[in-house]
């Protein structure tokens, strides 16, 4: 493998990771932008989303990587899987907000954040107790087709991840920028009191933020399963920490920032794995610390008041 091929392959790896981190980071950032709340349950919603998709795909009769679909059946299966997963995860997010966080909306201090930690562990243990502790083989109907760029391999799954992530991120960005509720979200992020005075239904806005963020996390969970061919109750923690880092790196509360942060962390992880495998975590978090020391609001973030 020549050096260029190697760099190409690691870039492909990095962008795939980055796409997943970006999807997760967006959820963090949406909620933080509006509520100034770090939602620790977010990455376990991602994990639950991965399991919802697992069950949906199983219902289609898929087990493991044996059954392969192409063309229209594949598109239909994936569409249904994504739709159900996103709605399901979104619903879980809304449930969390409604039951656990809305009563704490006006409480100062870390009560809400700690509540999200508790919810996170509840989700984690519910899945552990119902599905067991083992890594499950993921039902994957994608054909094992691959393209070669020199010696580098570009798998069909990778293209799917990028396509889906891009579509979702662009859709979210358009929604936030162009729609009425999107404008309401941006207004609430800027100043909740003023927004309320202008007639914005803050409750609805918060609910929408949780729904969208969790739906994206769910999509991320399905993508994770299709990419790695496994899922387990543990995937939330490892991916979540990196995604949270990505959100902060890009500027927490900033939607394009989350996307940028995700891609950067993904690329660093891939290149770090190439150069010094065991030190990858050290490298990632050192870069985070350095960026925050010199630009505390993150790469694209600005200090209050404007956030998203």
């Amino acid at each position: 493998m020549t050096l260029t091929d190697l760099i190409v392959q690691q870039t492909i790896n990095g962008l795939s990771l980055g796409a997943m981190y970006a999807l997760l980071a967006l959820g963090f950032t949406l909620v933080y932008g509006i509520l100034e709340l770090i939602n620790f349950s977010h990455f376990n919603v991602f994990m639950v989303g991965s399991f919802i998709a697992f069950w949906v795909l199983q219902m289609f009769g898929l087990t493991g990587q044996d059954v392969i679909l192409t063309g229209l059946p594949l598109a239909m299966v994936l569409l249904v899987a994504f739709a159900v997963t996103m709605v399901g995860s979104g619903a879980i997010g809304v449930l969390i907000e409604r039951l656990c966080l809305r009563p704490l909306r006006d409480v100062k201090g870390p009560a809400a954040m700690i509540t999200t930690i508790g919810v996170s562990y509840i989700l984690f243990n519910v899945i552990l107790l119902s599905m067991g502790a083992e890594a499950l083989n993921y039902p994957n109907p994608l054909p094992p087709k691959r393209f070669h760029i020199g010696d580098a391999i570009l798998d069909v799954r990778v293209i799917l991840i990028w396509a889906v992530a891009l579509v979702l991120m662009v859709a979210l960005w358009l929604f936030v920028q162009k729609s009425r509720i999107g404008k309401a979200m941006r207004a609430t992020a800027q100043d909740p009191e003023a927004a309320r005075m202008m007639g914005v239904d803050v409750d609805k806005v918060v609910m929408m933020a949780f729904f969208l963020g969790s739906a994206l996390a769910g999509a991320g969970g399905l993508i994770f399963g299709l990419y790695y061919n496994f899922t387990s109750f543990l995937i939330g923690f490892t991916a979540g920490l990196r995604a949270f880092t990505a959100a902060v790196l890009g500027g927490i509360g900033n939607v394009p920032g989350a996307m940028l942060g995700g891609v950067i962390i993904g690329l660093i992880e891939a290149l770090g794995g190439q150069i010094a495998g065991a030190w990858t975590d050290v490298i990632i978090f050192s870069i985070l610390v350095l960026v925050l020391v010199f630009k505390p609001s993150g790469l694209l973030g600005r200090m209050a008041p404007t956030k998203s």
């Binding site: 190697l6 790896n13 083992e134 770090g272 794995g273 495998g277």
Partner: protein
């Protein structure tokens, strides 16, 4: 006449053994209870193998109780789990807690386990101080019985860590011999999973394979908690290895198998007994698991002679799953404990932990794997390492170890 106390003990004893799934014959009023502590990784990535090992122990204790192997004594299981959810596999801290539980329960005379060497390193000093002997059916890290490290793992000075398998001092190097001589590889990349077993095995393998003239292209560590190994695998692929060797257990092994299949389908892949078992088959699945070489630190038992065939039949009928080789080593280890208790009781001395330990040390018990005896450090006298290769067998069940792992032969001895 049955006193009330004896009747209560009788009722409790049979209720207990019944709930634990152990059969018990109608016990006489004066039966003493001997508890056997069993510590296995029943939660996490190696749970499937743990279950199959536990079943072997249950069969042996059951047989002992029903056959009245030691008159006046009934055996009881005390099952403990050293796997935790947060670790996703064995947790040395939990293993240490379990060791303390066993030591503090005075009815526990001996133990089976642990399954994993990382747990073994945590448990050995505690068991040593409690003078509680344990027989492990699968822990292979040589440090625990190495006299050089006696201060760390055996402070009391008397061996308490016995094995019905050999150690990685042979498992690693013998596989290196096999790969160098029989597969003729010219270079290899070595990986470990940062656990005590994996690192020890990879080190032993690497040293020997280097001596055999095979070029070691590099050595890397996989994080069992991380999901993504694509970066490291891409780096390895660029070096064009003929083979990769993985020292470690299922949690990282399963992900490695899946991702290595994607990036390097033609490269020879091999591991130790951490990639041998139902956990690896169900976790990695096919086609990712296909072609992997695995070793175990014992002779190949399932599918062996008549005794083994009889065992397999009874086991499968009773538990609904097929046994693995380590189910048999666990069964054999339990037979050794039963035999030890029997000899102590027969000699008229009181059955204490120290007496049982001494009896285990001098054991010469006929079992399915042959006559089991231990050297003065607690290691198994037999040093055989067996080599297998996974070959997908669609006719068999996908988690049936005998169907999917093809036995190749005994690895060339170092």
């Amino acid at each position: 006449m049955i006193t009330r106390r004896a009747a209560a003990r009788l009722a409790a004893g049979s209720a207990f053994t019944a709930t634990l799934g152990l059969g018990s014959r109608a016990s006489l009023a004066a039966d003493k209870v001997i508890k056997v502590g069993v510590n296995l990784s029943l939660t996490g990535a190696d749970a499937e193998d743990a279950k199959r090992i536990l079943n072997g122990v249950i069969m042996a204790l059951d047989g002992a109780n029903q056959g009245n192997a030691v008159p006046g004594y009934q055996f009881q299981l005390m099952t403990l789990d050293d796997g935790t959810a947060t670790a996703g596999q064995y947790d040395p801290a939990q293993a240490a807690t379990n060791a303390r539980k066993m030591v503090s329960d005075h009815a526990v005379m001996a133990a089976i386990g642990p399954q994993m060497s990382g747990a073994g390193k945590a448990m050995a000093p505690i068991l040593s101080e409690g003078d509680l002997a344990t027989i492990t059916p699968s822990s292979t890290n040589p440090d625990i019985t190495n006299p050089k490290f006696a201060a760390q793992f055996d402070p009391s000075g008397k061996p308490i860590y016995f094995r019905t398998v050999t150690t990685d001092a042979f498992q690693g190097p013998n596989m290196a011999n096999y790969m160098a001589e029989k597969l003729g590889i010219k270079n290899v990349y070595v990986l470990d999973d940062s656990g005590a077993y994996g690192v020890g095995l990879a080190d032993a393998y690497q040293a020997q394979v280097d001596k055999k003239g095979v070029k070691v292209l590099g050595r890397d560590r996989l994080d069992p908690k991380a999901a993504d190994y694509t970066a490291i695998l891409t780096k390895i692929k660029a070096l064009n290895p003929a083979a990769i060797y993985y020292g470690g257990v299922g949690q990282a092994g399963i992900k490695l198998a899946k991702q290595a299949y994607d990036s390097m389908p033609k490269v020879i892949k091999a591991g130790g007994d951490g990639v041998y078992g139902a956990s690896f088959l169900t976790g990695a699945g096919f086609p990712a698991a296909n072609g992997w070489y695995a070793t175990i630190a014992s002779p190949h038992l399932v599918g062996g002679d008549e005794k083994a065939a009889e065992f397999v039949k009874t086991y499968t009928a009773r538990f609904g799953v097929a046994p693995e080789d380590y189910s048999i080593t666990a069964y054999d280890g339990t037979l050794v404990i039963v035999d030890a208790v029997k000899r102590v009781a027969a000699s008229g001395k009181p059955v204490t932990r120290a007496a049982v330990r001494d009896a285990i040390q001098t054991a010469k018990v006929p079992t399915i794997q042959g006559i089991v005896s231990f050297d003065k450090y607690g290691d198994l006298a037999d040093r055989t390492v067996s080599v297998f290769q996974i070959e997908e067998n669609k006719a068999g069940k996908p988690d049936d170890v005998s169907a999917q792992y093809k036995y190749i032969g005994v690895a060339p001895q170092s």
